[in-house]
């Protein structure tokens, strides 16, 4: 297989794509949004539980998509637990840079290091929206919107 494809489809991605973590709809979740990628028709629903102090206690998701979008959603649910909404927003910005910029800098912090497996999408500009769909949807949920789209 070609190197950049190997870089894109790392074992971690394939694993999370096949066996997504936190694939559920928790009854206590109090933030929900539906994300949609009009280009491919993929959709994801993010369910977040935010406590009174603004800390994200739980993130879960449901939906259908390609290996990249499902793996990204799955990894997102793992790294956001316990983060404040401000921290989540900052992490999305850093993650977005990682997916789109050649010189995004070395990942600092455990969360960004975990997300580093998705950095391969840089070489596949058409797939950046797959990697960021769940994050856009989470942002919409946090902002109180019902819907998000990658367009």
């Amino acid at each position: 297989m070609l190197d950049d494809l190997r870089e894109l489809y790392q074992e971690v991605i394939l694993d999370h794509g096949r066996n997504p973590r936190n694939y559920r709809n928790p009854p206590e979740a109090n933030r929900h949004a539906h994300g949609h990628n009009p280009m491919c028709g993929d959709s994801v629903v993010v369910h977040a539980t935010v406590d009174d102090t603004g800390i994200i206690r739980d993130v879960a998701f449901e939906g259908k998509g390609c290996a990249i979008s499902v793996a990204s959603a799955s990894l997102m649910t793992e790294v956001l637990k316990g983060k404040s909404q401000t921290e989540a927003k900052a992490l999305f910005e850093r993650f977005h840079d990682m997916c789109t910029k050649d010189h995004a800098g070395d990942p600092d912090g455990e969360e960004l290091e975990r997300l580093q497996v998705l950095a391969g999408v840089r070489e596949f500009p058409m797939r950046v929206k797959c990697a960021t769909l769940a994050w856009h949807t989470l942002s919409a949920a946090m902002a109180g919107a019902d819907d998000a789209t990658t367009e």
Partner: protein, 424 residues
């Protein structure tokens, strides 16, 4: 132009067999096919989205810009006259190609989508009211769904949807059952862009006409593969686009029977479509110019005419034999890829093979085969209701044109085997 096209690509006169189809010579006409993608020869299997252009089309358009160009129907000067002649001669080429009874039945639009919107708006304004029904099918492209939904939202018409079976066959009897006293128009595709299903359009038209209902046919996917004779079909309206027929983008064709076009009001207002204008009252030209407001796609019409000359020189029978051979080979070869399922197995199909894989989402398939130079379409193919009917979010689609080869099918199949290795 047609002389050059004939010299370069025509098989022996009268010989329309697949054996006479010299694909190597055809490929030599398409400059883009020498391009490499990620270090691999381009394997272009996305002609149903947009076909590549032969040199004959590119040269005809360059030639027009370099030697014969001005606005049409305006000046008394020589260049305008010559350009108008070339433009209107393009209209006659299209009319002959469709076997329309007159070039006045050919309206040029920006693309097929504009043609659908033109008809939806103009037809609705004189023929449709609250509770009237328009029949479309499950196979339709969004371009033949959304314009009717806009009319529905405006006027309160009702859309009736012809069902398909699990193989993607258009259900003729179910269609007939939908034809009722309020049916004002049938608007269906000739060939499904997502599945390749060939709709029995002649019977569709016969059954509608038995109830005096006119029929609009979406011929975008049919024109590159099937010889269309609008009079033999007795189609009332027929729409196709230039860029899927090896012609340029920016040009669509809207055919309408003269007796129907004459009763339709203008679509857009502007120059070119008027007989006379005062601030109190404006009168309009007869069809086709009534529907062509503003400067038309002049050089695109010249390019489309060159594309039609090219396709006619190859011959539709020879093209169909070549493409059906490729499709049949692809269906056999792809069925050997583990976990691959072909979506759409209608009795009659054009050269489109849609598929899904157990192990990988169509987007992942598309990305992986792309790195080996293979271009396939992935997604919903602008046919989301059809995808919902089939229970899939998306498919991957290989579509074949005059320039494709069995070797390219093998390259695709090998790339799909590597998809299975990665994800399987």
């Amino acid at each position: 132009m047609s002389e050059a096209a004939t010299r370069r690509i025509a098989p022996a006169p009268g010989d329309n067999s697949a054996a006479a189809f010299d694909v190597a010579r055809v490929r030599a006409d398409f400059p883009i096919l020498t391009q490499e993608v990620f270090g691999h020869p381009l394997v272009y299997l996305d002609s149903a989205a947009s076909a590549q252009k032969p040199r004959q089309v590119i040269e005809a358009m360059s030639h027009a810009y370099e030697t014969c160009y001005a606005n049409v129907h305006r000046g008394v000067h020589r260049m305008s006259q010559l350009t108008t002649d070339a433009f209107e001669s393009g209209r006659e080429t299209v009319a002959r190609f469709l076997n329309a009874s007159s070039a006045d039945e050919i309206v040029f639009t920006r693309n097929a989508t504009e043609a659908f919107n033109l008809l939806a708006n103009c037809f609705a304004s004189v023929n449709l009211g609250h509770g009237d029904e328009v029949i479309i099918s499950t196979l339709e492209h969004h371009a033949n769904i959304v314009p009717w939904q806009l009319v529905r939202d405006r006027l309160g018409i009702v859309l009736r949807i012809v069902p398909i079976d699990d193989d993607g066959n258009f259900l003729l009897d179910a269609y007939e059952a939908l034809l009722g006293p309020r049916t004002k128009l049938v608007a269906v595709t000739h060939v499904s862009n997502a599945l390749g299903t060939v709709v029995p359009i002649k019977q569709v038209i016969e059954r509608a006409h038995a109830r005096n209902v006119p029929v609009l046919v979406d011929g975008c996917q049919a024109m590159p593969h099937i010889k269309v004779d609008v009079q033999a079909l007795d189609a009332d309206f027929y729409v196709f686009t230039g860029h899927k027929l090896y012609g340029p983008t920016g040009i669509g064709v809207f055919y309408g029977k003269s007796e129907l076009l004459k009763d339709l009001p203008p679509y857009q207002g502007g120059g070119e479509m008027i007989a006379s204008v005062t601030f109190e009252k404006t009168t309009f030209k007869p069809p086709p110019h009534r529907f062509e407001a503003g400067t038309p796609p002049i050089v695109e019409v010249i390019g489309l005419a060159a594309a039609i000359d090219y396709v006619q020189a190859l011959g539709h029978d020879a093209i169909a034999a070549h493409e059906n051979g490729l499709r049949s080979y692809a269906e056999t070869r792809l069925a050997q890829v583990p976990g691959l399922h072909i979506v759409g197995t209608a009795r009659e199909k054009a050269s489109i093979v849609s598929f899904v894989m157990d192990s990988a989402h169509p987007h992942d398939i598309g990305t992986i085969v792309d790195r080996t130079g293979v271009a396939v379409r992935t997604g919903h193919h602008c046919a989301q209701p059809l995808m919902q009917r089939l229970g899939v979010a998306a498919t991957a689609r290989a579509s074949f044109g005059v320039y494709n080869t069995r070797d390219e099918v093998d390259v695709l199949a090998q790339a799909l085997e590597s998809v299975h290795e990665i994800f399987g």
